[in-house]
Each structure stands twice: as structure tokens, then as C-alpha cells.
């Protein structure tokens, strides 16, 4: 069946101790592993594979790569052929290239971001188990996020030179990886330029999103919470921990998500959000946002664009 869901994000951080403290105490992840290179691996309580976040020590912030999990090992061979046929070069990394992880198909999106696909990651189980489980475990820290849900990549877009890697990525994800489009932002004369897209493989409004910008980068990684009240509580946790909040709790028009945005200690933007918005389906008509109503699409209540949110990324 090909790609199932987001598997992990690998982020660069400039202060490992501060980063681990942030993802453990504010988001509620737990460290599951460290490797000799100083990379730290973490997971959320409701995830069953060994890690969903890799923190790597660096002199800058940003994304190393994002990985999606495919259902079967042979899917990797089939997808390698399709990706190469689409015109994107791939490399098959051997098992163990990342600890506790099977072989990984590595390639770059048209926007330049590194993506990897894998079929196997060590199973460790959720914190409530599989037999007569409680709805949530005791001893959760901070926001107690359920799982890594999606990420948003900033992609180079320059209409004057005809560069639009948002549209290129969207076409690639659809044609090579069978993602489907749920929402899009169309701008410019006649609304002809596809400036942002939200795409899915599961039944949630987005498993990945692309937004046009002057250069490619990471806008945010997002973690899932149950309810609007959990979003509010997450904001309390951030205030308690002196976390830089970018956007206080509000709702997106796009995806209908209830959300809060904030920064990790290296300036990588995080989101905790609730509300699945709607059931995303392949035959659900695509939602389009126009340039004049883009503000409402982003922050539904005020309809105002926030410069630190739209223009700042790592």
C-alpha cells in the first residue's frame, strides 16, 4: 500500500541539553536512545515505534530529513522505481544507517528537502500497551503529546523566475508517492500560482504541507493533542517553562485545526494542535484559499497575518 504515515523528523539543535529538556518537559516525549555521535532519539507515549524525533548536535537550527513509514519492505523497491522514473535520484541506505531502523530510501524533494522512506523500525509499544489499555498513562510530562503528526516545509517560490517548488513537490508527492491534495492557496494574477498545499496519505487533513517562501527550510513540526482544552493546557505548560510562544491558542481556517505555535530552544518552530478538522478522503473536493482571504485561512479569528509566523523559519 506504499506510504502509511510520518515516521520521524531529524532536527538540528544548537544546545542538546536544552533541546532534550524542551521536548521531554514541554512536549512530553521520552528519550529512548542515544548514539555515539551524540544524537538523541525520542518518542511520544502513544507511538509504538522506537522514535519519532531525532535531535542532532549542530551549529545551526533546521531540518536534516523527514521520514515516512511504508507498509512493506518491498514497497521500498517499488517506490524507488517510481521515484527514479519521475526524475528524482535515490539512494538506498543499508539497515542500521539509523539505529533500530531498517533500510531507508533516501532522496531530495524538488524543493531540496531530504526525505526518507523506511519499512522497519524497532517496535517498543505505546505506554498503555495493547491489552485492556487505559486511555492515557500516568506520569505524563508537559503537554503529553500523543504523536508526531505532520510537518510544514517552506519551499522556494519565485514567480519572476518561474521557480515554484511548492507545485513541483505537490506533483511529485501525488504522482510518485500517492499522496492526495486536501487544501491549497492560489495567488497571483487570476489565482494561477499554487503557493501552498496540504497533502495527505492518511485520513487527516495533512500529513505534510508545503508553503512558498524565498528559500527552502523548515516551518514547523507538529504534535497531536486530544482537545481544545489540551491546547490551552499546553500553552500553560509553555508559560511555566518560559517557552517562546509564537502564536497563542487559536484556530486555522485551513485544516480547521486548533493550534498553538512555539519555538524550541534552537528556534525550530513546534506546533501542538487538536481537532482532526475533517475526514480527509481521496474523493473529497479540494479546498482552495484565495490571496484576499489568506489571512483567515491561516488564523481564522483575526484574519491577520503575523510576520513572525509567516516570515520566520529555520
Amino acid at each position: 500500500m506504499g506510504v502509511m504515515r510520518i515516521g520521524h523528523a531529524s532536527l538540528r539543535v544548537m544546545d542538546m541539553a536544552a533541546a532534550v529538556k524542551h521536548y521531554e518537559n514541554v512536549l512530553g516525549l521520552k528519550t529512548t536512545m542515544q548514539d555515539k555521535a551524540g544524537n538523541v532519539y525520542l518518542k511520544c507515549w502513544d507511538e509504538w515505534d522506537k522514535y519519532s524525533l531525532v535531535l542532532t548536535p549542530s551549529d545551526r537550527a533546521g531540518l536534516n530529513h523527514v521520514a515516512y513509514k511504508v507498509e512493506k519492505d518491498e514497497d521500498l523497491d517499488a517506490l524507488q522505481k517510481r521515484i527514479e522514473a519521475w526524475g528524482v535520484k535515490t539512494t538506498m541506505l543499508p539497515e542500521g544507517a539509523l539505529p533500530s531502523t531498517g533500510r531507508m530510501l533516501q532522496f531530495n524533494l524538488p524543493s531540496g528537502h531530504e526525505m526518507r522512506l523506511y519499512a522497519m523500525k524497532e517496535y517498543v509499544g505505546t505506554e498503555v500497551g495493547t491489552q485492556n489499555p487505559d486511555p492515557w498513562p500516568d506520569g505524563l510530562k508537559g503537554a503529553g503529546a500523543h504523536w508526531l503528526d505532520h510537518l510544514l516545509l517552506m519551499c522556494e517560490l519565485n514567480p519572476e523566475t518561474g521557480v515554484n517548488t511548492v507545485a513541483d513537490n505537490t506533483r511529485f508527492m501525488k504522482e510518485a508517492l500517492d499522496f492526495f491534495l486536501t487544501e491549497q492557496v492560489m495567488v497571483g494574477p487570476g489565482g494561477a500560482i499554487q503557493a501552498a498545499t496540504w497533502m495527505s496519505r492518511t485520513t487527516t487533513p495533512h500529513d505534510i504541507a508545503f508553503v512558498g517562501g524565498p528559500k527552502s527550510g523548515l516551518h514547523h513540526i507538529a504534535f497531536y493533542l486530544d482537545s481544545w482544552h489540551d491546547v490551552l493546557k499546553a500553552a500553560d505548560v509553555m508559560a511555566k517553562n518560559r517557552v517562546r510562544i509564537d502564536v497563542a491558542p487559536t484556530r486555522h481556517g485551513i485544516t480547521r485545526g486548533e493550534t498553538i505555535y512555539f519555538f524550541d530552544p534552537s528556534g525550530n518552530r513546534n506546533e501542538t494542535f487538536a481537532g482532526l478538522g475533517y475526514l480527509a478522503q481521496r474523493d473529497r473536493p479540494v479546498t482552495t484559499w484565495t490571496e484576499d482571504r489568506l489571512g483567515s485561512g491561516i488564523f481564522y479569528h483575526t484574519g491577520d497575518l503575523v510576520p513572525s509566523f509567516t516570515d520566520v523559519y529555520t
Binding site: M14, G62, A196, F263, G267, S308
Partner: protein, 118 residues
Amino acid sequence: MIFDTRPKMPVTIAQTGESYPCATDESLLKGMCKLGRRGIPVGCVSGGCGVCKVRIVEGQVTPLGPVSRAHVSAEEERAGFTLACRVAPATAVRLEVAGKFEKPFSKGFAATADRVSP
């Protein structure tokens, strides 16, 4: 701030001539934000995004944490560039704002807007 009795140093933004007091244990950016003042672009306030890039023209600053090399090179650092969110004033400081917001969807659109505006 009325109830903030911490020792402070004056920080002056060269381009606008605006000045504000900043505590010696607080970043130049936080000090500005706390007073509701503007002048230096505010982004992640964590050393990663680079929009608050400044050049220290006069005075001494104390480093508070790592600054992304993607935004301040070693050479720039020697020339006095840093991020306002990562340094506190040790003395009176005069700075030049070097960072700026780069609008998404903007390349091309902004240029077009400039051409048609009076």
C-alpha cells in the same frame, strides 16, 4: 518597567535613533519586547531564525547562548554581527539592525507591488 529594579544599560538603534533600557542579564531583543518597543525584527527569540541580526557598533555585550552559523558566519561575528536574542548588554550599546523579514509568496509579488505603487 516600574517594578523592574535590575541594573540596566541604554541600547540605541542606530537607524532610528530610538533608545531603550535593557537589563544586563536579559537579551537586547527581550528587553525591547518587554517594553512593547519596536525596531529589531522579532522571530524565534532562540538564536535559530536570524531575523534579529544586528551589528554591535559601540559597547560590549555578554553572550547568552549559541547563535546559528547559518545566519552569522565566523567572519561576521568578528566584525561585530550577532543575534539580538542571544546577547545582553554589558555596557551602553549602539547597534545597527541587519536582519529583515523575507515575505513568503513575496519574491516577484513584492517587486510588482513596488512598481505599481505611487
